[in-house]
Point group: D3
């Protein structure tokens, strides 16, 4: 895209090294340790037969997500939210985003009256924790659905996941759009955007924020293109992992 | 834009009736009762000379916002967050959005070591509460800044607000992009988007979510165009009110 | 009562201007914006068919109230109780007072197994917020009961409200008993009393507190007389509004 | 007052057996175990040299109170407020009442920059816990003040307490005014009133509530007379204990 | 054991004066005011027919305990946990210990589907509050069980308590093992241990902590011997009280 | 010790496979991923120059620990404590235990006015999480101290850690003492004990609990011997890792 070389040697349109390690946890019905460079997120999917009371008898399942960060996942230690006795705004916002992203590709009727809770715990943070979480959570979710199918909680031939979903951050730094920002890039970005895109290339979520100067339509378009391309690479990575 | 007539008789690219009543509160340094149709939000700006401890001595001011809804602002009563003892994810998310939107047009150096807290309390909700809140909050903020200038807390000739900011919701209903969704439209929308745009037409925030089917780039573009046009109308309304 | 003229020009036995605006909210089954001078309280009554679990099957209804203040209802901003994560003593105390006042004039058997929650949110405070809240809440309650009757949840000819109820503050300032204290008077009062009186002139609640010097029986009697007269005026105002 | 004999054999104008045991706690600067019949309240006064930050340098002291009940002080067990994580409305209300009652008889200038916290913990409840608490708290407060004087924190000859204070409940049962209600009487009372009266016979607080039918002025007067007489007996008891 | 005489004149292997006053509370099904020297703990046992939902239908009962301290039980005042809005680690830990100790000697099948909650509230603290609480709680528990038997909730001839349980603290001070530490001794102890022992002399719980230097096996043995002997004396005291 | 072979093929006196991976986290001053068989705990040590306010100027440092479990570390998912808004008793108790264990081997004077917070987050649980946490935390602590020394916050030649510390669980199953219980063993154990032992073989903490039948002195001795031997093996493992 441009000749700029980033601090870690990447091209502007290049993802960091992405790894998706399935079956990381011995207990969860689906689990993944996903890394986007120095960002490491443990995603576990917990499958329960049955749904919350308000959904009983509607023939539909429920998928929800919780995001959290270990106190020393970051460069300086943050107090635990459990110790503070309340969950911060950022945590709430990201948990809600992950849940929406996953629900966009799931047929809750086909899931049946089952609940899947995805926990995304950031073990180490280096930018893009929410996008890594979504990307990994999709794989853990897929595994939990297969577990449910094997146990007979989900019909054998149903299509529960009708598409895949991945996410990536993009941003403008010194006027240049860049893909998958590391923490040192994130703090310098004038505009910061997260895009959540399905395997077929459709948008589930577009969240762009001007951190410095507001941005115009042309910049927005360049960021969206970059994000869609990055998500396509992540989709291939997910498919390969699940193969 | 199209020949479709909406439930309340509006064209697809038409705002609801918007009113911005300045000086609603006797106590606040800036205050506005803003309405977008049936949505009524009371925005008050509280000016304090001085900044939070972590900002002292940096020669910069601080602007923050809190959003809340009265229990019976909606069609059925919601329990108070104060009674539940914690603030929900949606409330946190919107408070953060309003704060970011306002900080995008303010020069905190020119504000000096002063703090302005904007409270946006929804008295009646009919869709678009966050966008009405941002649009009204800007006017309350402008008034609080003038108050601070008159009291001598802010330099006489400084430009504290270098642009204005407004926000509006857009969405796709039955395949048709529409501006400023009322509640009955909002629940039917396949895609829901909020755009925050400065007076000069630049984006501060773009938040689009597929509630039903994911959306493609062409739909996204149509929604953005609609939002930018709506915000321009709101900008004129704000300017007229402040004149 | 005396020749003293108060800061706002009132006689010692004179109420501030009182307005009761019915149907303020589009959603609530009963709603009132009540003002006692600069004090403005939004009272909404939410009607639900059914009662809390502990009352089920007893053939009786339930009426309760919650009082709160917007952060900038007062001269300086107060932190939100939702943000602090707990409700203060004063808020609890006033919520309980309003609930008791309303329950004193309602026949819960005639109400049937229905619940009415009255929310009293102070939009602007200038003394006497709890008494304005009770006075307005009665009107909102009456409207919600009529709504329930029209919907068939309450028997057509039953007498649910067997009396009306209103409240006013009285106090002694510089030795002189005065009716309906504004905030600047309230802070100067040696004795502060709230009386809650039914339409028939009977006491529901008498709460007198010596803020400065303790008071004697003669002073108490003068305050009570003043309060009863004030409540009679408010009763007429309520009746007129409901007519 | 009448020929009625109460369940426990008392006349209508008779207090239950009242005991005030000073120096109950080895650690507190003032402490009292007060009983009104089956109601037992442990009142401890904690003296600290210095005042809360907001009072520093104003040459005045601070007196505050906290009221609480052991889980099994009552006939059936109540969950601990510490376990529930919040303090109930009733607890807040009574804590505030006790604090106001004590501050009504103390000269905070004479107290100097010292803080006294009174804890009133109900060990066993049988009606009138708040009035027993006030009556006992006064004695504990007096002892803590003398302790402060001996330690040199309070000037030798100053008059810190310019009056004493006591409290008692009164109520109307079957149309008959009665003094110092036990629990079985309290639940049957049509009207329930607490009066807080100084040693000189002046009112500090009058809180009357119609639990059943609203009450008229004549009933109110009879209750007040009964309360004032009861408080005079308690004042003598306090004086005797402190002698 | 040694010729050392302690500050209060005791031998190293001597308990403080222990009193167990049964039936202290008028309301609880079992209640005891236990004192170990200056430590006074009120233990009440609340009997409820029925069990928590998760135990229903299993034919077993449930015994649990809660420990707390009045704010001025100690030499300086501690803030109430209810006011702080959360329970501290120490409180939790001791509550759990007391519950485990009591459950070790109860046959929950013989108890039947009944629940007993033991509240241990420290009225005055002078070291060893948790061990006094366990020792007293056993007696209150025994009384509550007899109450349940008399009311017909427990089978007439069943053996619900198959052993008794008591507890005592031991510690090493200046190299010398000592029994039942008072507060001034506790703060000086190099090693601090609590032993919970049944009437038959078996261990239920051994909790030893090096406060200063770590300890060796020989010291541990000497402490255990001392603790077992102390618990045997307490067992006799309990039996005598219950006789 | 006996011919019994355990479910996983171990001898009764054999530890599970123990791994201690240093430098697991890129951000923390010391970090270890420790595993005892299927139990995996991430221990991070956060070094701060300076101490909490109450320690300032005393020339001493502060070491504290926090323990937590990821929601799906266990076989079924547990709700997050941050979501529940409070920390459970078990979590508090273990956090306090880890802190005490580490403070037993550290010379806080030599540490100087520095604070080290150790976070022990259980990523996967299979019994013995608290003992694995202590064993790993010691290594993370040692690394953080060396970091502080290199940065010049700690004197070059001082001995901050005067001993090492490790911990292991022991228990009696079917009458047989066993070392380092896995979860399936833990739930079957009649007696459960955790021992915390220094590198020199001295006890820091002994916590034995009868889960089923109470235990006698002979059984206690056998458990202690087993625990001391297990901790000696862990000490060698720690030393090897730090070499």
């Amino acid at each position: 895209m441009s000749d700029i070389v980033r601090a870690d040697g990447r091209a502007t349109d290049q993802l960091r090294e992405v790894t998706i390690e399935r079956g990381w946890s011995a207990h969860a019905e689906g689990s993944v340790l996903v890394s986007f460079g120095g960002t490491k997120v443990l995603c576990t999917a917990s499958f329960t037969n049955g749904v919350p009371r308000w959904l009983v008898g509607k023939g539909k399942g429920w998928v929800t997500a919780e995001y959290a960060m270990l106190p020393r996942a970051t460069n300086t230690r943050n107090d635990r939210e459990a110790v503070k006795g309340k969950i911060g705004g950022r945590t709430h916002e990201i948990s809600r985003l992950i849940g929406r992203a996953l629900r966009a590709v799931i047929d809750t009727k086909a899931l049946g009256e089952n609940t899947i809770v995805i926990d995304c715990d950031v073990l180490q943070a280096d930018g893009g924790t929410r996008t890594a979480a979504i990307t990994g959570a999709y794989v853990a979710l897929a595994d939990a659905i297969e577990w449910g199918r094997e146990k007979g909680f989900i019909a054998k031939k149903s299509t529960v996941l009708f598409d895949s979903v991945a996410a990536v951050s993009v941003g403008i730094i010194d006027g240049e759009p860049m893909l998958d920002l590391a923490y040192v890039e994130d703090v310098r970005a004038e505009t910061d955007m997260n895009v959540v895109v399905t395997g077929r290339g459709l948008f589930v979520e577009v969240q762009g924020t001007a951190e410095g100067a507001p941005f115009d339509k042309r910049e927005l378009d360049r960021l969206l293109d970059l994000g869609v391309a990055g998500c396509a690479t992540l989709r291939d990575k997910q498919a390969e992992t699940l193969a």
